[in-house]
């Protein structure tokens, strides 16, 4: 059973804590992303798991065995893990098949077994035609696939990936997301994936753990993270967000600073009264220029924000509006291109209380 448990994991560089009291349980066969801005400690966490760093406090367990703690340190080569690196780390002095075969040197395999395994994985990443090339003769995407095959050929219990797609161009990146997810479905290897790209995390993961300043902020399925962010940081980091602040009465009514009162949804640990922030996703807001329609929505329980279109950017599939509210502030709204409101038009923005989520500051 390759469950990985991080327990109060802490690592400090000099005076700066890189990872602090991190608790995370990754179950067998699960794909978990560590997501966060640069410097949030996600790569440090991954290198702690790989055994390249030793924690200052806390421990890492595989199953029930401790592999890292301030006093115990199983070296990386004895952890039955594989890792894919940001730089791919494909060895330039070895051919594609030598690269892929490398990990098998340390396993006792018969010659025919060995060759068959290498070929199987080269075919899997569609590089069998390139097996005698050197990495310098490959494109970035192909090098990436060499790294992938090299990591998988040893049939690791745990696969670690450190921003594996960040050096690829946008199209290839999208393609590789699906590729990685497909391989995961096929082999069901427990995977820990580090990225700063929320779309990547959404596309690949069973579960996302959001990190900020070395601490875990929220862990949950992509849907949970996106629809019920616990903090303002999560709301703003994952997807686009309008943040409104106001005074919560203890129930579900929020008095905004400018006198408007709206209804909100409340989730879990967020404060039940006092000054709070509310997250509204731009694409969850309806726009209408028709006053009667706005009244209708209000009767259906929607919060209505009257305002004027101050700016719009046409993206083809969507239109990104900035609405200058009559009360105060600006609201970003993503609208369908079918209906287009020109700059200066008086509009009503409508948001359902379900989509107005109270979040913790920070």
């Amino acid at each position: 059973m390759a469950t990985v448990s991080l327990i109060e994991l802490t690592k400090t560089f000099g005076d700066a804590p890189a990872v602090q009291d991190l608790d995370l349980e990754i179950s067998d066969g699960e794909f978990v992303s560590l997501l966060g801005p640069s410097g949030c400690g996600k790569t440090t966490t991954l290198r702690l798991i790989a055994g390249f760093l030793q924690p200052d406090r806390g421990e890492i367990k595989i199953g029930r065995e401790i592999i890292s703690s301030p006093s115990i340190m199983v070296p990386p080569e004895r952890r039955s893990m594989s890792m894919i690196f940001q730089s791919y780390a494909v060895w330039p002095h070895m051919t594609v098949s030598q690269n892929v075969a490398y990990g098998l040197r340390f396993k006792k395999l018969s010659r025919s077994d060995y060759d068959a395994r290498v070929m199987k994985f080269l075919r899997l990443v569609r590089l069998d035609a390139f097996k005698d090339r050197y990495p310098a003769e490959l494109s970035g995407g192909q090098q990436q696939r060499v790294a992938l095959a090299r990591a998988l050929v040893v049939e690791p219990q745990i696969l670690l990936m450190d921003e594996p797609l960040s050096n690829l161009d946008a199209n290839l990146r999208e393609e590789m997301r699906f590729e990685i997810r497909r391989l995961h479905e096929e082999f069901k290897i427990t995977t820990i994936y580090v990225t700063h790209d929320q779309a990547e995390a959404m596309a690949t993961s069973d579960r996302i753990a959001l990190l900020n300043h070395g601490r875990m902020v929220q862990a949950g399925s992509p849907t949970e993270i996106f629809e019920h962010p616990k903090t303002r940081f999560v709301a703003e980091f994952v997807g686009k967000a309008n943040i409104l602040t106001g005074h919560l009465d203890g129930g579900n009514k929020l008095a905004l600073a400018d006198g408007l009162t709206i209804h909100v949804a409340r989730a879990g640990e967020a404060a039940s009264h006092g000054e709070v922030s509310v997250c509204l996703r731009p694409h969850n807001i309806l726009l209408t220029a028709d006053e009667a329609r706005a009244r209708e929505l209000e009767r259906a329980g929607y919060n209505i924000f009257p305002g004027v279109v101050s700016q719009l950017i046409y993206f083809g599939d969507v239109i990104d509006y900035s609405i200058a509210l009559s009360s105060r502030g600006t609201l970003r709204v993503i609208g369908a291109p079918a209906e287009r409101y020109p700059s200066g038009r008086q509009v009503y923005a409508a948001a359902h209380p379900e989509h107005c989520v109270v979040v913790k500051d920070g």
Binding site: I66, I72, S80, Y102
Partner: protein, 575 residues
């Protein structure tokens, strides 16, 4: 589960042993050796300079700094080094700019010739210049007399200006490579940005180009100053006949009979402190707003058109290079192949006897050639090994406090050869370890002195090998030493061969430490050249000098081919 792990509750010490890294003794051993190599001689200098029969004393310093001869040596050194630094900055800076940013003709040849001046040992250049501009028999003076009918000499190389001139010839390449590097990094668009805001050519040069190059110019001045501060050969060959002492020759005199080690030590300390201070200053100039701002992605570089001045400027460049390369090499070749070097070079004056005599008949020179190349190979091999281990430790942070190791590895940069020799002599001429009298003390001296070049070469090699390449091997099952063997070593190979070659070249041309540490059966080529000069054996000296130069050039060219880059300026060749 493959990982075999312990349970909680074991003592930390026991666990350390259990998961003990088998490569650890290698790292610790290399580090300890390095620290010892550096700390022993320096420690010996300080203690000897502060100690007499009665105990701790400052009397040695008092004796040194009240003696007029010593004070005038310091004064001479300062004047010479300052002038050399100034001339080197002007010449090297100008040449560096000309070959990188203008349409000067034959730029690659100019670069190659500057490299040749760089490779020429200054003592050899100084010797060649005694043949060229000695007051009586000097070739140029004879030419002058023939042409004008005058009786007196045009140049007297045995003088302060002569000494400054020759030392500057072999110091300017340092500034050249620094300036050439910077000029290549200043993209034209940085200057264009100023032009588009309304600055004219000269305002742009004054406000953009010069300030960007200024740290390198100041740094270059300090490097040239330091270089001449620590030179022994040139001042001994050109200064001593005129009664001019510098600090290094004065220390050497203190080693002559009766040796005054205590005074030599006390006299070495200020030289040591001065170089330390200058290196710190240089770091500051180059470090602060340094090159990071300049190292934009190259950008397009347009060449300045020299117009009508193109040919006259080229002639001036040629003149400088004649002084540092063409004339000295010509006179050395002439002397090596002549029966009488001062006679015109005609058929009945031609001979190869000098070569035969030097390499096969005269046991002193023969022994020196063997010693030199033996020491070169030994030191280069041991030095590369040690430098590689240390660079690995500092680059991959294998040990705690690894940063201090790089300080030790680079420390010899601030130790002039003569000073190092004083320290080593004190340490190794008494029990427990007596090395003085054998070639081994030279080995230790060269190993110490060449450590910075070996270390920085190895360090930059490891820097260019992404640590993740090694991590990738670890996680797939290789331990640290296996990963080194499979991944890092093959990738580092050409860089480390280059380190070997640099150390080798450094060793075979070393004079300033060898001159204090040699004994009759441990002479090396440089020392023999110095000795033969006293005997007036011009032919033999020239043969040895040419041998040194040929070997150096062959090695440098092969390194260049190997690593595909220009060695002297460290410039990446466009691929």
């Amino acid at each position: 589960m493959a990982a075999k792990v312990g349970t909680i509750g074991q003592t930390p010490a026991g666990l350390r042993l259990k998961h003990w890294d088998p490569s650890l003794p290698v790292w610790i051993g290399a580090s300890a050796l390095l620290v010892m190599l550096m700390a022993l001689p320096l420690g010996a200098i300080f203690t000897t300079s502060l100690k007499d029969e009665a105990g701790v004393t400052l009397s040695k310093y008092a004796e040194v700094f009240t003696n007029r001869a010593f004070l005038s040596a310091i004064w001479n050194t300062l004047i010479v080094s300052f002038c050399v630094g100034l001339i080197a900055v002007m010449t090297g800076g100008l040449l560096g700019w000309l070959v990188t940013r203008t349409d000067l003709p034959w730029k690659n040849s100019v670069r190659a010739l500057v490299m040749a001046s760089f490779v020429t040992p200054p003592f050899l250049g100084a010797f060649a210049w005694t043949l060229l501009a000695g007051p009586n028999a000097g070739a140029l003076n004879k030419l002058y007399r023939t042409l004008t009918g005058h009786e007196d000499a045009l140049f007297n190389i045995f003088s302060m200006p002569g000494l400054i001139f020759v030392m500057a010839l072999y110091s300017f390449p340092f500034v050249f490579s620094m300036i050439a590097n910077v000029c290549e990094l200043i993209a034209s668009d940085l200057e264009d940005a100023a032009v588009i805001l309304g600055a004219n050519k000269w305002t742009t040069a004054r406000t953009i180009t010069l300030p960007l190059a200024l740290p390198a110019l100041l740094g270059g001045f300090i490097v040239a100053f330091l270089h001449s501060l620590s030179l022994f050969g040139a001042p001994a060959i050109l200064g001593l006949p005129a009664g001019l002492h510098t600090i290094t020759t004065q220390i050497w005199t203190l080693f002559q009979y009766p040796p005054r080690l205590d005074l030599a030590a006390a006299f070495s300390v200020p030289l040591l402190l001065a170089t330390m201070l200058l290196i710190a200053l240089q770091k500051k100039f180059l470090g602060r707003r340094g090159f990071s701002t300049i190292s934009g992605k190259g950008g397009e570089k347009r060449l300045v058109r020299l117009g009508w001045a193109r040919i006259p400027i080229f002639v001036v460049v040629l003149l400088v290079l004649s002084c540092s390369v063409f004339l000295p090499y010509w006179i050395l070749l002439k002397a090596a192949f002549s029966k009488a070097w001062a006679m015109p070079f005609e058929w009945d004056n031609f001979t190869v006897q000098n070569f035969y005599y030097t390499l096969f008949q005269y046991s002193d020179t023969q022994r020196a050639v063997i010693n030199t190349f033996e020491l070169g190979i030994l030191t280069a091999t041991a030095g590369t090994l040690l430098a590689t281990l240390i660079a690995y430790v500092t680059n991959r942070h294998v040990l705690r406090g690894a940063r201090f190791l790089s300080f030790f590895a680079l420390a010899p940069l601030v130790i002039p050869g003569v000073v190092l020799a004083v320290g080593l002599f004190i340490v190794y001429s008494q029990p427990p370890l007596i090395l003085y009298g054998s070639v081994w003390i030279l080995f230790v001296a060269f190993l110490t002195k060449e450590m910075p070049i070996g270390y920085s070469q190895a360090e930059s090699t490891f820097k260019s090998i992404h640590p993740e390449l090694e991590d990738a091997s670890r996680i797939l099952g290789a331990n640290r030493l296996t990963a080194l063997q499979h991944i890092t070593a093959p990738l580092a190979r050409s860089g480390l061969i280059a380190a070997w070659c640099f150390i080798f070249i450094g060793v075979i041309r070393e004079l300033s430490a060898a001159i204090l540490l040699f004994t009759p059966n441990s002479k090396v080529i440089s020392v023999v050249i110095f000795d033969l000069k006293e005997e007036g054996q011009v032919g033999a000296i020239s043969v040895l000098g040419i041998l040194l130069l040929v070997v150096s050039f062959v090695i440098i060219l092969s390194v260049q081919r190997l690593s595909g880059r220009e060695v002297v300026s460290g410039r990446e060749q466009p691929s």
